[in-house]
């Protein structure tokens, strides 16, 4: 059974179609890039998967069920903005995650924080943007989830932080879990992906594996993307 499945999924905001008849399925053990220009529907799709939005038409299923209690326990979600209470200290956030998520591995989080010299007594608001992004990612990746939904995890971070984030994704690879990374910075993530989904104007343009695209077109996914979405 796919860990994430969309069947003729549509989402409209008023007269705007943010997602238009999207059908796809994502199997466990895969790292998937959800790639598209700004405003193409990436965040809307991730929010639907999280149950933060409801479909206008069609359905979205997480491990065979509509988003709800089960999906919340198996999805670990990194939104595209800071969602942590900024007055909290890292230590308090870990308490919070421990209370909320049975699958949160505190020792793992503490170990990663230590490797990056992030002080657990530090408050979110005292952190630089890069440190805040790293902290959020560490918390999200320290859950033993079945589905990780990472919305723009590498947007606006320096190259060293980006490398740490990608390394964390590789080292936490679990054949029973799937990771979906939404981004428009394809060159940076291409090597860690199994498959890519190109999305534009709310429609799926292409689903393929990274190596298939390279094999068929003799160019990187990044170059191919630029070709498909040339303005």
């Amino acid at each position: 059974m796919p860990i994430l499945e969309c069947r003729e999924l549509c989402k409209s905001y008023g007269s705007v179609r943010a997602l238009d008849n999207v059908s796809l399925s994502i199997e466990q053990g895969r790292v998937i890039g959800l790639l598209g220009p700004n405003g193409s529907g990436k965040t809307t799709l991730l929010k639907l998967a999280n149950g933060l939005l409801t479909p206008t038409e069609g359905e979205i299923l997480i491990a065979g069920e509509a988003p709800g209690r089960l999906s919340r326990s198996i999805i670990s979600y990194l939104p595209d903005h800071n969602y942590l209470a900024d007055w909290m200290k890292v230590r308090q956030l870990m308490d919070f995650f421990e209370d909320f998520y049975e699958d949160f591995d505190r020792a793992k989080a503490a170990d990663m924080l230590k490797r990056l010299n992030i002080d657990s007594e530090m408050r979110i608001r005292e952190m630089s943007k890069g440190t805040r992004e790293k902290t959020q990612l560490i918390l999200v990746m320290s859950r033993a989830a079945r589905l990780y939904l990472l919305d723009e995890p590498i947007g606006g971070v320096d190259p060293a932080t980006r490398d740490f984030i990608l390394d964390t994704i590789i080292r936490n690879y679990n054949p029973e879990a799937a990771v979906v990374i939404s981004t428009h910075l394809i060159a940076d993530v291409e090597q860690v992906l199994d498959d890519v989904i190109f999305i534009n104007n709310g429609k799926i343009v292409l689903m393929s594996s990274v190596d298939n695209i390279r094999e068929e077109h003799g160019m990187s996914v990044d170059q191919y993307f630029r070709e498909v979405f040339r303005c």
Binding site: G29, R30, V31, D163, L166, D167, I170, R171, Y173, Q191, V192, L193, D194, V210, D211, N212, R214, E215, G218, M219, S220, D222, Q223
Partner: protein
Amino acid sequence: MIWKFRGDLPIYSQLVEQIQLGIVSGSFQPGERLMSVRDMAAEAGVNPNTMQRALQELEREGMVYSQRTSGRYVTEDIQVIERAKKRFAEEQIRRFLEAMRKLGYQQEEIISMLREGVGEDADS
């Protein structure tokens, strides 16, 4: 080991080639135990499934072998390694000749220039 990837080829085939090169050049010694797939993937900065696929291909070629319980090892068969090394050398020669012909050199000129080059190399 330093990993480098180009955009116009599948990542898995580049992994296969770089590990082969590592073996024929001695970065990986015959009989050496390889790191886990995940660690190798992290070191190369690639997807673990892609690394797994590359290692399976190398297994098919006999460059590495796995032992169910203890992991993956570089082959101890020196002949297999020598054959792979020769393939790399032949490929280098093919590319060199192609480039020289593109520049307009004839066979005799190429050979004499090559001799000269080898001589200079020996002097330095």
